[in-house]
């Protein structure tokens, strides 16, 4: 019985140690390693790609987009070149001869329907501001796409930054919030037991 208490207690202290390490990691601030900003007018029924980048799991992309109408923002887990090549292969007649046609929303919707796994985040902005935050689980190409589904013009403005973190903040925070209390819970019987044994020893002396 006593050995089980010790075993659980040491398991608890190990969990506390893991929790403390992850807590420390979560407290380390992120470093800004890149930023971008841009504004423009999105023509009706078209799409644009204001930003593309390669992200590692230690990088987090934070984007805020504002618009004076309804816009859709997508974060796609592919490079722009992949989207371009796909459209070029699917509709060989369109790009080049009529550049404006290339940005037609139909092509984007077709691409996203055929490659739905590439859509990491999708948000709708209605006369206001929306923010996106994304941390990949592997080294990933990402493309930010702004899509105007309305027939009218929409003015938009987007700002973003790439933050370098030691580890995904939410994950390590959750880990520390789980392991530290659980560790303490497992350690309590061991601490009580050790305290009792010490007291017994003191009274014997």
């Amino acid at each position: 019985m006593n050995r089980w208490i010790v075993l659980l207690g040491r398991g608890g202290t190990i969990l506390i140690a893991i929790g403390c390490a992850s807590l420390l990691v979560s407290l380390i601030p992120s470093a800004k390693v890149g930023s971008f900003s841009g504004s423009g007018v999105a023509t009706g029924k078209t799409w644009y790609w204001p930003y593309e980048h390669v992200l590692t799991p230690q990088q987090c992309l934070s984007v805020s987009i504002s618009a004076n109408g309804t816009l859709k923002a997508y974060l796609l887990e592919v490079s722009f070149q992949t989207i371009y090549n796909w459209i070029k292969e699917t509709h060989p007649q369109s790009p080049g001869s009529e550049p404006f046609q290339y940005w037609n929303e139909t092509y984007l919707i077709e691409f996203m329907t055929a490659n739905s796994q590439t859509v990491a985040i999708q948000k709708e902005i209605i006369d206001g501001e929306a923010s996106l935050e994304y941390t990949p689980t592997k080294i990933t190409n990402i493309t930010l796409v702004v899509h105007n589904p309305n027939p009218s013009f929409v003015k938009y403005n987007c700002e973003g930054s790439v933050l370098l973190t030691m580890a995904p903040k939410i994950t390590v925070q959750t880990l520390s919030q789980t392991t530290i209390p659980l560790g303490f819970f497992l350690t309590i019987p061991w601490i009580i037991n050790t305290y009792k044994m010490r007291k017994e020893k003191q009274t014997q002396h």
Partner: protein, 269 residues
């Protein structure tokens, strides 16, 4: 006394001695912290056209440098200082009086000294790597395990030699110093051999080095560069890498087998 209980008694006593509070917790803390602090995708990103498997290898390698050294320190402490002191102080005599085979006494000591240390290292680092990059680690778990296997082999080989030395010299302090010297000697010799291989463009040197340091073959397989132009010298196939890892573990097993034979047949208190 139940069969197996003396084994557990020796094991429990060894664990109690090797991992007194808060030694285990400090190591766990640093392994966890070290994994996040040392993890880097840098070398994979700098290698043009690196496959996702190579990225997994590069990520696992990046967290192994210092923690492996710390892992060795823990083993040196447990083997040289722990077992060595037991021999010096005559504690081993008590163990030998147990109704237990000598080989099982040594197994219990090694399970605590090396087995538990290994469990802590792998049990902390691999889940931490998964938290960091779940997409890479989950889809290339084999590559991550292979990287660990290749990097741990020389450390376990040094541990085997140290065990043998500890049993022969029967002095904790002396074995401790020997272990540290051995590690530095191995590191220096491997770096010198690596440079010589690069300077002479000799694949044979890299192949010899890979028998003791299979991580050399694995890094060449994944196309990681130590020196510019080394890719022209030697690029092993996966089968060759597996062979080098297997050979290095055979040497390690052989070293431990000698230590076991010595402890069972020649060792006297």
């Amino acid at each position: 006394m139940k069969r197996g209980k003396p084994f557990l008694e020796v094991f429990a006593s060894a664990v109690h001695e090797d991992y007194r509070f808060p030694i285990l917790e400090i190591f766990v803390f640093f392994y966890a912290l070290g994994t996040f602090a040392l993890a880097s995708f840098g070398s994979a990103l700098s290698t043009m056209g690196a496959s996702e498997e190579a990225v997994a290898y590069s990520l696992a390698s990046s967290v192994l440098g210092t923690p492996l050294f710390v892992f060795l320190i823990l083993i040196i402490k447990n083997l040289a200082y722990g077992l060595g002191s037991d021999i010096e102080k005559g504690v081993i005599q008590t163990y030998l009086s147990y109704p237990l085979k000598r080989s099982r006494i040594l197994s219990a000591k090694l399970l605590s000294a090396i087995g538990l240390s290994l469990l802590i290292l792998l049990g902390i680092q691999i889940p931490a790597l998964y938290l960091l990059a779940p997409g890479i680690v989950a889809s290339h778990f084999g590559a991550v395990l292979l990287t660990y296997a290749a990097n741990l082999s020389p450390i376990l080989f040094i541990s085997g030699i140290m065990l043998l030395v500890t049993l022969i010299v029967r002095r904790g302090g002396l074995a401790l110093v020997f272990g540290i010297i051995l590690y530095f000697a191995f590191s220096i010799v491997s770096s010198m051999l690596m440079f010589t291989a690069f300077a002479t463009k000799s694949s044979t040197i890299l192949q010899i080095l890979s028998v003791f340091y299979p991580s050399t073959a694995l890094s060449r397989y994944y196309g990681m560069q130590f020196y510019p132009g080394i890719e022209e010298v030697w690029v092993p196939t996966f089968q060759e890498v597996a062979l080098y890892i297997g050979a290095s573990y055979l040497i390690t097993i052989f070293t431990f087998a000698i230590a076991y034979i010595y402890f069972c047949r020649r060792f006297s208190v």
